[in-house]
């Protein structure tokens, strides 16, 4: 009976967790964000360097119940953020290589928590800087916190946690594009 119990414990542990390393999902632009940029008028920018400031809550890779999720872009979540902005500017027709207006920034917080059996949470905080030549026209920190239904079973909770990452980035960027000062800085 003890052997069966031990085996059950092992199976249960395997059900709740899964100890592997995978790439997170590619970013998928939000059409709402694209339309916000499109309707912002005569704005354009190129995307410069985004770096990541090490600190508590700024995970890379992100750990999801023992499973490690790497960024699919250069294994860097700062590069993920840069790619997300590029995609949305590009779909809106506002990404210009020859402009002197550049968006750059730093990732300050970045984590997903699915340790709970019913709720998963995600947090991202980033500094966004817009420069025209050497002149800083915008320098603000944006934060997003979100939560979703999670599960006891790792086979459900882990992929759901992974799938939430692009949604978190979409929501973070929605707060950026909703900032009138940011859009003015791109003109």
């Amino acid at each position: 009976m003890r052997r069966i119990g031990l085996l059950s414990l092992v199976i249960l542990f395997g059900t709740i967790t899964s100890g592997c390393s995978t790439n997170g999902p590619l970013y998928t632009a939000s059409i709402d964000n694209v339309q916000l940029l499109k309707e912002a008028g005569n704005v354009s920018a190129k995307v410069g360097k985004f770096d990541s400031i090490p600190g508590p809550g700024n995970a890379n890779p992100i750990t999801l119940r023992g499973s490690r999720m790497n960024s699919p872009y250069e294994s860097s979540y700062a590069a993920y953020l840069a790619e997300a902005i590029k995609q949305e500017l590009s779909l809106a027709g506002k990404l210009k290589a020859d402009t002197d207006i550049e968006i750059s920034g730093s990732l300050l917080k970045n984590d997903i928590n699915i340790a709970g059996f019913s709720i998963g949470t995600g947090d991202i905080e980033a500094r966004f800087v817009v420069k025209k030549g050497a002149q800083v026209r915008y320098d603000q920190i944006k934060t997003i916190h979100d939560q979703w239904e999670s599960s006891f079973a790792g086979a459900i909770a882990v992929p759901r946690g992974q799938q939430q990452y692009p949604n978190l980035v979409q929501k973070l960027l929605a707060t950026l594009y909703a900032d009138h000062d940011f859009l003015e800085a791109l003109k």
Partner: protein, 197 residues
Amino acid sequence: MRIIKLISMLAVVAVITGCAHPLVISPDISKVERSGNAQAIDKNVGYYIPADMREKLVKTGGGGGDSVKYTPYKDMETALYKMLSNVFKSVTMLKSPNDAEAIAKHSINYIITPEITTQSSSPSAFTWPPTKFSVNLTCNITDISGKVIGKPAVTGEGNAEFSEFKSDYSLSGKRATLDSLLKMQDSLLKMPELRAP
């Protein structure tokens, strides 16, 4: 001893219960490109996806008696937007099928309402990700008066074997959505009625 029995029961239930595994079938939009020699259509389009369809959760088959669940309209929307941007001069998301403000503001010529259905399966008894996936994509195209201009329909297919999908469980679905969008792009570019003055 009771605890061991309880844990045993929990483990057995957790293992044998067939579950619906969440997937995202969004294709890599960098692969949604127009072929170099094709000419874009000089018209503005709006597309409309009802809010309930965007959030509609679909369950289809996987392997080992399990199923997979995903939101096909939401997952495909960005790539659909990119495909339509490759085909037409401009694309606008409409909030309703008669979004008069957006239709006037963006000088929209045609309104496209997509319809998506999907199937998936796997012959595997031990792994749940689908190895075969298909996506039926139809674009209902009208002018702004509601007159039907066309209703092109395509089927995209995606296959993935275990050695490929172990790092991406959605791979067959992503391949099927990409295939359907590229086929639809080709169909739209070949419709002379869309180029009529």
